[in-house]
């Protein structure tokens, strides 16, 4: 599904990613953990195509195709979804209208007709139930005045609507209470199947109790310094990140 080969990236001449190698196969859940400032959010932004970062070396392949040069919307059309740590507020545009635009833009890019209105409504109903979202919520302006938890739940709702091949969840659990966390995790788990993949970016292990990863990678100072299975996350939770830093010495 996703292959990252020797990825180097910088912002304003400061190198943030220093040679990342990662392979995520369809049907897998990978977690990337690491201390603050390790480059976790940078990595997710770069996979999604944020043009504020310069990719100085390496490549990103989605289903074998190099997407490194594509615009963010083109990557989205190919099935990349990023759940933002800080979703942007768009006043005056309702969640429903925003989703209609997003879905139909993707369909247009794939040469499909606009989704018929009744189908759209059905999809919205189904997915909002999955995320336990009140229908009234959908007519509110996107993210405007939403609580932290509502924003995160709304991100996963959008993911459910767009059905991406590769979903990257950037700190999807920050600001969530335990009930909201369960709803978000449950949503992700229900959407997961053998044809898609999930990349969970998180500082804390908590979310991984609910979304069980197949692989856990530790990102420190722009490099993946250790990889393992779900037990690695627990070990990190217990011992902190310094342990790995010291282990490397």
């Amino acid at each position: 599904m996703l292959q990252i080969k020797n990825l180097h990236a910088s912002v304003e001449d400061k190198e943030i990613l220093k040679g990342i190698n990662l392979e995520v196969k369809a049907g897998e859940v990978h977690a990337i953990m690491g201390p603050n400032g390790a480059g976790k959010s940078t990595l997710s932004s770069i996979i999604a195509g944020n043009e504020n970062y310069n990719v100085t070396a390496g490549e990103i392949l989605l289903e074998g195709e190099n997407i490194s040069e594509l615009a963010p919307e083109e990557r989205a059309h190919k099935g990349v979804f990023l759940s933002f740590q800080y979703p942007v507020e768009i006043p005056g545009v309702s969640v429903t209208n925003f989703m209609k635009t997003a879905i139909n833009e993707s369909r247009k890019a794939r040469g499909q007709e606009d989704m018929p209105a009744n189908e759209m409504l059905k999809l919205i109903r189904e997915k909002s139930e999955l995320l336990e979202i009140d229908r009234k919520f959908l007519s509110r302006s996107l993210n405007e005045g939403f609580s932290g938890g509502e924003k995160k739940r709304n991100e996963i709702f959008q993911m459910a609507m767009l059905e991406p091949k590769l979903a990257i969840l950037d700190e999807a659990d920050s600001g969530l209470d335990i009930d909201a966390l369960r709803i978000v995790a449950n949503g992700v788990n229900k959407l997961k199947n053998k044809n898609n993949a999930v990349l969970v970016i998180t500082h804390y292990q908590r979310l991984l109790d609910y979304i069980i990863p197949d692989f856990v990678h530790v990102l420190m100072d722009g490099k993946i310094v250790k990889s393992g299975d779900a037990s690695l996350a627990l070990e990190l939770e217990e011992k902190g990140y310094d342990w790995i830093k010291n282990e490397g010495k």
Partner: protein, 439 residues
């Protein structure tokens, strides 16, 4: 002959022809033309006109009156009206009343013509009491209009009348003259506890240059509610100087929304005067222009009485070589304690060559007031662009969506749904996108 001389020469002939309802009007006109003669057209040397120059447009050889009575077909101008709602209509073509396109009334309220009000005895009482009573007598362009004031809309809403449908005031220019200057004059009197919605629009139908120097006086009595909308989406050769004066009595609420999407030079002088307590004034505007278009919003809110509020919110998007001006003046007199005055002016520049001159001016003489002003100038938020693109929305559409969002605080407060949709469609059209839903 220069335009000023031409105007002065025309005045005598003009006055000879009209029969005013009283001699006082003659005196008003005479002192007005005198003031215009003394001051002439404003120049950039004046502080209030520092960023807006009329020099280039004044070189046109404007006719002071249209020679012929012109007509237009409804089908050709239908799109400028609100069509899904029934409205009262006062329509003018080249400065003259078009009864064919209008729908006036005297049934329980007056929606009719200034020319009637100025000449018929039954209106004398109102003309004596209101005409030229809040307009700035020192302002040369207002004086020019007053001197030639003859036609426009006259609206008089009696006490406790809630007007059943919006009133549209439309001025069309046909281009029958090589260049035409008009002096529309509107008088709006809204009685105690009455409520009215008014939409005003000036539209050229042909590319011959037009200079419209409009004056509107609005009087809101106690507890009156007035929602006034100005739609400015004129063609590239049309120029508009809009001088609006609003006098508010106790507990009245008046809002003026100004949508500036077109024209060559547009200058909006919007002045609010408070004459009682617990008054609420709202001044909002959206400006979206490009090319070499120029829009100037010069606002004044004169807080003269205690416990009143004013809310200003102006959003501007400039592209190409467009220039914008926001000159917002809030004056809080010593007596105006407990004033709440807010002013917000946000500007987005889409091109390196676009310019905005923003100048908030707060003069506060009372010591127990809340006044705030915020002014921002910037480009579109990159992180928001990335967010929208990440959801599959192309760059152009994402830009448009963000600009729409930027203006939504103002569009959302339009109380006539059809007008709100119309504004949204004009915005989408300006931004060159079809969002796939009604914005």
């Amino acid at each position: 002959m220069e335009l000023k001389e031409k105007i002065l020469a025309s005045f005598m002939a003009f006055e000879d022809k009209i029969v005013d309802v009283n001699n006082e009007l003659h005196d008003i006109r005479t002192s007005a033309i005198k003031n215009f003669e003394d001051k002439g057209f404003p120049s950039k040397k004046e502080e209030a006109w520092k960023y807006t120059s009329l020099n280039a447009i004044l070189k046109n050889d404007f006719s002071v009156f249209a020679k012929n009575d012109n007509t237009v077909e409804f089908a050709d101008v239908k799109k400028y009206f609100l069509n899904e709602v029934d409205t009262y209509k006062v329509v003018f073509i080249d400065g003259k009343f078009s009864s064919y396109l209008s729908s006036t009334t005297h049934d329980g309220l007056d929606v009719c013509l200034m020319s009637s009000a100025l000449t018929k005895p039954k209106y004398k009482m109102y003309i004596d009491q209101y005409f030229n009573k809040i307009a700035n007598l020192e302002d040369s362009l207002t004086s020019l209009n007053t001197a030639f004031s003859q036609e426009g809309a006259y609206v008089n809403i009696p006490k406790s009348k809630v007007v059943d449908k919006p009133i549209e005031i439309l001025y069309f220019s046909t281009g029958s003259e090589a260049a035409l200057m008009t002096q529309p004059r509107n008088l709006i009197i809204v009685g105690e506890n009455a409520h009215v919605q008014i939409v005003e629009r000036h539209q050229s139908l042909n590319s011959n240059p037009v200079l419209t120097n409009s004056v509107t006086e609005i009087f809101a009595q106690k507890h009156a509610i007035v929602d006034y909308y100005k739609v400015q989406n004129d063609i590239q050769t049309a120029n508009l100087i809009d001088n609006s004066y609003i006098a508010q009595k106790q507990d009245s609420h008046v809002s003026v929304h100004t949508f500036s999407f077109g024209g060559n030079i547009t200058r909006n002088n919007l002045n609010f005067y408070h004459q009682g307590e617990h008054i609420d004034s709202t001044l909002k505007g959206i400006t979206i222009i490009g090319d070499k278009q120029h829009v100037d919003h010069s606002t004044l809110v004169q807080h003269a009485t205690p416990n009143c509020e004013s809310h200003q919110n102006y959003k501007t998007i400039l592209d190409g070589n467009a220039t914008g001006v926001f000159n917002g003046k809030i004056f809080v007199e010593k007596e105006a304690q407990k004033t709440n005055a807010f002013q917000q002016n946000n500007n987005i520049l889409l091109s390196d060559k676009a310019t905005i001159n923003a100048k908030p001016q707060l003069e506060i003489f009372a010591d127990d007031v809340k006044c705030s002003h915020g002014c921002t100038i910037g480009q579109l938020d990159e992180s928001a662009m990335f967010y929208l693109q990440q959801r599959g929305i192309g760059k152009k559409e994402a830009k448009a969506l963000l600009m729409y969002a930027f203006t939504s605080e103002v569009t959302n407060s339009v109380k006539i749904p059809e007008l709100r949709n119309k504004i949204a469609r004009i915005i989408a059209d300006k931004l060159g996108v079809n969002m796939g839903f009604d914005l």
